[in-house]
Amino acid sequence: MGVKTVAMGVKMIAKIITGAFALTFYSGAATSSYQLNLSAPQSGIATQIYDLHTLLLWICLAIFIGVFGVMFYSVLKHRKSLGYKAANFHHSTTVEIIWTIIPFIILISMAYPATKTIISMKDTAAPDITIKATGHQWQWGYDYLKGEGEGASFYSKLSTPQEQIRNQVPKGEHYLREVDNNMVVPVGKKIRVLLTANDVIHAWSVQELGVKQDAIPGFIRDAWFKADKPGIYRGQCSELCGKEHAYMPIVVEAMEPEKYTQWVINQKKKSEATVVDVNKIFTIDELKVEGEKVYAANCAACHQANGKGLPGAFPALDGSKVANGPKNKHINIAVNGETGTAMAAFKHLSNVDIAAVVTYQRNAWSNSTGDIVQPSEINEFRK
């Protein structure tokens, strides 16, 4: 057994070393290695924060040189080995008062500009566009509530393929920081983001725009930004939200107002095209094909592609009582989730998607109930 462990260890180390070499090749694609400071700010607030941070660093540097200049001078000169004789002073009220007051003044010089920035960060009044961002395990949902684009609504999830995460293919330039649907905003407009969450606490964060705000289930918080120039700004969920926490990025695409207007028109057309008659009857094969896609996107992270789940943490669907039991109970869990467990509600999915995924689960792997669930049944269930 010992030999086996050692062999495994050697294999692992070899894997890491080859990986390291491979990495030096891929990382040529990375945008900026060895970045030493905050990213270049792209909004007024982010610029203020950047400058504030620079000010703090200069102040800290000055204190550093002052304090450690004295300490290291003392370390070098006041040594017994150099024959230095110890003095015997040990108290001075004047000195104590001086070095209590000086830091106090320095702190005020830091607090003043910070206070001004905080007040403007918190001023979410009079936005041009209001967008609600909802954190889900593990993707973001965006609803354009007010202003140009009102009514647009979509989900935004990681688009990096599993093969890249599993090191089977080289990683792309925006590895882990790319999504299927960007949150699109016009430049120069005040965007108010309302934040909430569906399951656990998430945090919506885009550093270049100077925003980070927790999304708390059951509560609404807000933040705002105004992008200075067109571009794509990337961030990541910044509050531990479960196992896929590293895999729910935020991508904001800021574009010129004319292009944004065009985007809004396209969004409208797209959403009209996807409206399907709820009474349309699908065949079992159509539902299974569609269902497999929905499953891969929404269920496989926990229940796994092979339906076996992760023992102890996430139950198997293959051969499970739910997937082979009464249809309605199965639909209920898919739509409403199960409280007290990690099983979230998926009521945000369309009737077609839920019908498809339930049909798929009841007829995939070793499950062979032969049941077909039509979108109309889901529509009925929701009433």
């Binding site: 304090v67 004295v70 927790d214 590293a246």
Partner: protein, 530 residues
């Protein structure tokens, strides 16, 4: 008290005849402060290695982007348990170990006030540790919601979370009993003539720490109990759907959590304040201002908790209040650093291992203080919250702060405890390796955080790859260097040059009037302090 007036009234003789039982029962039944101190220290060292293995697994996974060694769920269990084990298993018990060994000797007492409770405080810890470590092996694995255990994520966990909650309860009870013991000992058992303002600073800092512990451990117990009833008994303290508020948990947790930070650093201040004057051969500068500064830090620690939560969405007034209060802590902390430097100034310094660790502490802890100031400024914190910058910051204050002070204190008192001098070359090598690898590991994490790398992530974007690799290499170097520490201690226990009772040329506190190693009941006759 009779023993004080009649020192030779049979008190000492009895014990010389009986002595402690031998073998394992000596350790199970011991009520001796030194034995219990030793138990605490070995326990914390074992937990330090356990938490260290978890840290190294984390760093191995983060050596390069992509998933290589562990799955995300297990990764989250590792980060959670690394935090819990290091805070509650390694750092806190280590300081209690120091308190047990040193406080009676430093105030001229024979033992701790409540000797049997002392035994019980320690023996609660191994079951708690078993619950924590054992939770990896139950269905669903260990708690994976971060050491802060934020709901609703923590209500999603399996029974590993319940085991963690019970472990926290037990360790909390142990800490409270330990603290009551320390407060009683310090207030009642000082040698005649040792007024409060003559106590060594290590005793002072522990007295203040003990009060902090008594104040906040019940708060943590309350928070995790509410979590438990939310999980199993249908309450909705932290569930918005039932009228609760998940953010309330964070307020309660950090009301405990921030004083907890000082619980882990104040005794370290104490140790450093003992070491610096001895090796500078010059009295501590500003003794009374040190006492006042420590007390101010302790009091302020109760009104700054929400600076851990600047991104939850508080009103402007709350953000401003917590920012100003947090910045205020820099004043007494600065006073301490200035006092240490003034103590070194015009001293006659030598640089044995304890002094090296103490200077390393001042230098790196101050860097951690700088990043603390940066994080106290709300707008900058908004950019850095939940990034590696925070990880870098608190490892500067907890590893190169608390842990370096513990290393320094160990080398400082080890000759007293064992009766042998340790191997100085080995100890200095341990210092320099720790110093270098610590900075390789954690300094670069500031850059990762500034560039926006989120913490608690098993995987990261490519622009973070280079610094992560450097950090992982540093972590393995730091971890392996600690084996030198273990070897040095074992070597010192087994033998070495005989230590004198004074051990260090400049040492003048009471423990250095006792032989090395000290007798079983430290001071049977109280010394007179002038």
């Amino acid at each position: 008290m009779a023993a004080i007036h009649h020192p030779d009234h049979g008190y000492g003789h009895e014990h010389e005849h009986h002595g402690p039982p031998s073998g394992i029962m000596r350790w199970m039944t011991t009520t001796n402060h030194k034995d219990i101190g030793t138990l605490y220290l070995w326990f914390s060292f074992m937990m330090f290695l356990t938490g260290g293995v978890m840290a190294l697994t984390i760093r191995a996974e983060l050596f390069q982007p992509g998933l290589q060694l562990v799955e995300p769920e297990f990764f989250n269990q590792l980060t959670t348990l690394h935090g819990l084990v290091m805070v509650f298993g390694a750092i806190m018990p280590a300081f209690v170990g120091f308190a047990n060994w040193q406080i009676p000797m430093m105030i001229g007492a024979p033992d701790m006030a409540f000797a049997r409770m002392n035994n019980w405080s320690f023996w609660l810890l191994p079951p708690a540790a078993l619950l924590l470590i054992g939770s990896f092996f139950v269905p669903g694995g260990a708690a994976a919601g971060g050491w802060t255990l934020y709901p609703p994520l923590s209500t999603q966990m399996g029974m590993g979370m319940d085991m963690t909650i019970f472990a926290v309860h037990i360790m909390g009870a142990s800490s409270i009993m330990g603290s009551i013991n320390i407060v009683t000992t310090v207030l009642n058992m000082r040698a005649p003539g040792m007024t409060m303002m003559k106590m060594p600073l290590f005793v002072w800092t522990w007295l203040i720490t003990a009060y902090l512990l008594i104040a906040v451990m019940p708060v943590l117990a309350g928070a995790v109990t509410m979590l438990l009833t939310d999980r199993h008994f249908g309450t909705n303290f932290f569930n918005a759907a039932g009228g609760g508020d998940p953010v309330m948990f964070q307020h309660i947790f950090w009301f405990f959590g921030h004083p907890e930070v000082y619980i882990m650093i104040l005794p370290a201040f104490g140790i450093v304040s003992q070491i610096i004057p001895v090796f500078a051969r010059k009295p501590l500068f500003g003794y009374s201002s040190m006492v006042y500064a420590t007390s101010s830090i302790a009091i302020l620690s109760f009104v700054v908790w929400a600076h851990h939560m600047f991104t939850v969405g508080m009103p402007v007034s709350a953000q401003l209040f917590f920012m100003y209060a947090t910045m205020l802590i820099a004043v007494p902390t600065g006073v301490k650093v200035f006092n240490w430097v003034a103590t070194m100034w015009q001293g006659s310094m030598t640089f044995e291992a304890p002094m090296l660790f103490a200077i390393g502490f001042i230098f790196l802890f101050t860097l951690g203080g700088f990043s603390g100031i940066v994080l106290a400024i709300v707008p900058v914190d908004i950019q850095l919250q939940e990034t590696y910058y925070v990880i870098a910051h608190f490892h500067y204050v907890l590893v190169s702060g608390s842990l370096f002070a513990l290393f320094g204190g160990t080398y400082y008192w080890l000759p007293k405890w064992t009766g042998h001098m340790y191997d100085e070359t080995l100890a200095k090598t341990h210092f320099w390796l720790s110093m270098i690898f610590f900075n390789v590991t954690f300094f670069v994490q500031h850059f990762l955080g500034l560039a926006g790398m989120p913490r608690r992530s098993p995987d990261y974007a490519l622009q973070f790859a280079d610094f992560n690799m450097i950090s992982s290499i540093g972590a393995f170097g730091f971890g392996l260097s600690q084996l030198l520490f273990l070897y040095g201690i074992l070597k010192c226990i087994r033998g070495g040059e005989k230590a004198t009772s004074q051990v260090w040329e400049g040492a003048d506190t009471l423990e250095f009037t006792l032989p090395s190693p000290p007798p079983y009941h430290s001071f049977e006759t109280p010394p007179i302090v002038k």
